[in-house]
């Protein structure tokens, strides 16, 4: 069974081919990327190096967000188009879960972070179980970093922060949690498509046509519309 994995949810790119638990090829980069132009050439490169054809794969895993709206859409569009035209199952995995899966320490709270500007983050909380699986402790959401840190401080468990959002907010994390919080190694801040595939193997298949990103935020236009119409009703 061959899996294709694709993560373009944020600035980094990771694509991988995994056959029966064996990594064939993985391409990772954190810099100088334009996913719209670069994601498909990376996928093309992947197949070339593995020496297989698109039709040889058996399933597709994609990072479904949250993250950069545009980045997530590119990955999802490529993945669902491939899954539909090749008639292969498609599995979407949280981009925060993919970051969390870089951490193999048991017991600690894993806090993957994606920066969402103005003091906000996309965050979820995870924990590595003894059987190796990742348990979700708090569903992915868009929230104020200060709210997340308040919650973690109150819980009082050791926390590992991972992801580019952790790097960007390093000072705030240290200040809020002190000894309780630790930073992952910088190499673990990048999503790994091979681990995305591992996570996808535990998840249910998604309906291909209806598959859409998990933005975890409504659009600004929708928010404004709701506000205006909510106010109109109150009058």
């Amino acid at each position: 069974m061959i899996w294709l994995g694709l993560d373009t949810a944020n600035a980094p790119l990771s694509v991988a081919l995994v056959r029966d638990g064996e990594l064939l090829v993985e391409l990772n980069s954190a810099m100088g990327l334009n996913h719209s132009a670069g994601a498909m050439p990376a996928v093309e490169q992947l197949f070339k190096r593995a020496g297989i054809q698109p039709a040889d794969i058996d399933a597709i895993a994609v990072s479904e967000g949250p993250g950069s709206y545009t980045g997530v859409r590119i990955g999802v569009t490529i993945a669902k188009t491939l899954a539909w035209t090749l008639d292969k199952p498609l599995v979407g995995v949280s981009s925060l879960r993919v970051l969390a899966s870089n951490i193999f320490t048991y017991g600690v709270t894993i806090s993957p972070l994606i920066d969402a500007r103005r003091g906000n983050v996309y965050a979820g909380l995870y924990r590595r179980q003894e059987d190796g699986t990742l348990e979700c402790l708090m569903e992915d959401r868009h929230m104020a970093l200060s709210d997340l840190l308040g919650r973690l401080k109150k819980e009082g468990n050791p926390v590992v922060f991972v992801g580019e959002g952790a790097r960007k907010n390093e000072e705030a994390l240290k200040e809020a949690l002190g000894e309780l919080g630790r930073r992952a190694h910088f190499t673990q801040d990048l999503p790994r498509a091979a681990l995305l595939i591992t996570e996808a193997q535990h998840a249910e298949h998604d309906a291909v046509h209806a598959f859409a990103p998990e933005y975890r935020r409504i659009t600004e236009a929708e928010a404004n519309w709701r506000k205006a119409n909510g106010e109109a009703r109150e009058k």
Binding site: N34, S36, A37, G38, A39, M40, P41, V43, E44, P54, A55, Y69, T70, R73, I74, V76, T77, I78, K80, T81, L82, W84, T85, L86, V208, H209, A210, A212, P213, Y215, T219, E220, A221, E222, W225
Partner: protein, 340 residues
């Protein structure tokens, strides 16, 4: 000669569209999922909303186009997709879907200019006779293009500010008409008993360029003045006056360009070419000059993918290909692909 079957994909604005065209002329399928209903409440196209909807619709629309055409991917010769211009976030959904589809099925990929698509929509209905002048008139464009032959474009006039369709939408908003406003103004203009007199922006002698911002301001000022006096605005006569001013200028410049270039045909393209008043006036003026006037049926005037497949077929025949690095280009220029 073997038949050429091309799948076209178009997502440059708020229509998710796919189509299969045979030999650049015969439409086998033409599927358009419009977002107008979803965008209505925002009073215009919100780019982020458009991008989200494209992702949700894209594979369904392509599947529908393939099924209606009764073809399998291996029956296709290439995939043509709108590369630009348009909303960048919307363009790249079509571009990436097209790339993934082409890659998965080992098909050549062709990036198409949206406006070239509008022009080649005429191939799907009655054909193109060169040399010709194309009037491209839509929410994003007001351009006069001279085509000496298949695949060659020379821009001879363009708008210096608003596109005609943009002016239509803004005037419609001032008049309190629902979005999109163009068809409402067209309808009201026909119902009007008289027309308010608005200026014509002809610009300097001999120019083929357009300008609609002055006209738009004149309409807005007129409406405000009437309202300030506590009077009711006669919406129909304002619509009629605005439309007359647009049509007058557009027809005069188009006919002058056609005569000067000595063309055999004038074609109209783009959403505003669906405007009944414009069609009638252009048709009449060109008939007088003995120049053939073509404008495709409504469903080929507004954004669709059949036109992208039609232009893509001409490019395919000229051996134009894109690779997997193809990207959405919001400000793409219209360039010739024929070197002859």
């Amino acid at each position: 000669m073997n038949d050429i079957h091309i799948l076209g994909i178009e997502t440059s604005c708020d229509e998710t569209a796919a189509s299969v065209v045979k030999n650049g002329r015969e439409i086998l399928s033409n599927v358009v999922a419009s977002q107008i209903e979803s965008q209505k409440k925002f009073g215009g196209v919100v780019p982020e909303v458009a991008s989200r909807l494209h992702v949700e619709q894209i594979t369904l629309v392509i599947e529908e186009a393939m099924e209606q055409a009764g073809l399998q991917p291996e029956d296709l010769d290439a995939v043509a997709v709108t590369e630009g211009p348009g909303l960048v976030g919307a363009l790249l959904i079509g571009v990436n879907a097209a790339k993934a589809f082409a890659f998965a099925n080992g098909l050549p990929l062709i990036g198409v200019h949206h406006i070239a698509g509008h022009v080649y929509a005429n191939r799907l209905d009655g054909g193109m006779e060169f040399p010709l002048v194309a009037l491209i008139i839509s929410g994003g464009h007001t351009e006069l293009v001279y085509m000496e032959r298949d695949g060659s474009f020379e821009l001879i006039g363009e708008t210096r500010d608003d596109a005609a369709g943009e002016a239509y939408d803004k005037v419609a908003r001032v008049l309190g008409l629902p979005y999109p406003g163009g068809p409402h103004i067209d309808r009201l203009a026909h119902e009007a008993d008289d027309a308010v007199e608005f200026p014509r922006a002809r610009l300097e002698e001999g120019s083929y360029d357009f300008s609609f911002s002055g006209l738009k301001s004149a309409v807005i000022n007129h409406v405000h003045n009437v309202r300030q006096k506590g009077q009711e605005v006669d919406t129909a006569s304002v619509a009629a006056g605005f439309q007359e001013s647009v049509i007058d200028v557009v027809v005069e410049k188009t006919v002058r360009a056609a005569k000067e270039k000595g063309v055999r045909q004038v074609i109209a393209a783009g959403g505003v070419s669906a405007n009944k008043g414009l069609r009638a006036a252009l048709g009449k003026a060109l008939e007088k000059e003995g120049i053939r006037f073509s404008v495709p049926p409504l469903n080929l005037c507004t954004d669709n993918a059949a036109m992208i497949a039609a232009a893509g077929t001409s490019m395919y025949e000229a051996d134009i290909r894109s690779d997997m690095a193809l990207n959405g280009r919001p400000g793409m220029e219209l360039l010739s692909w024929s070197m002859k």
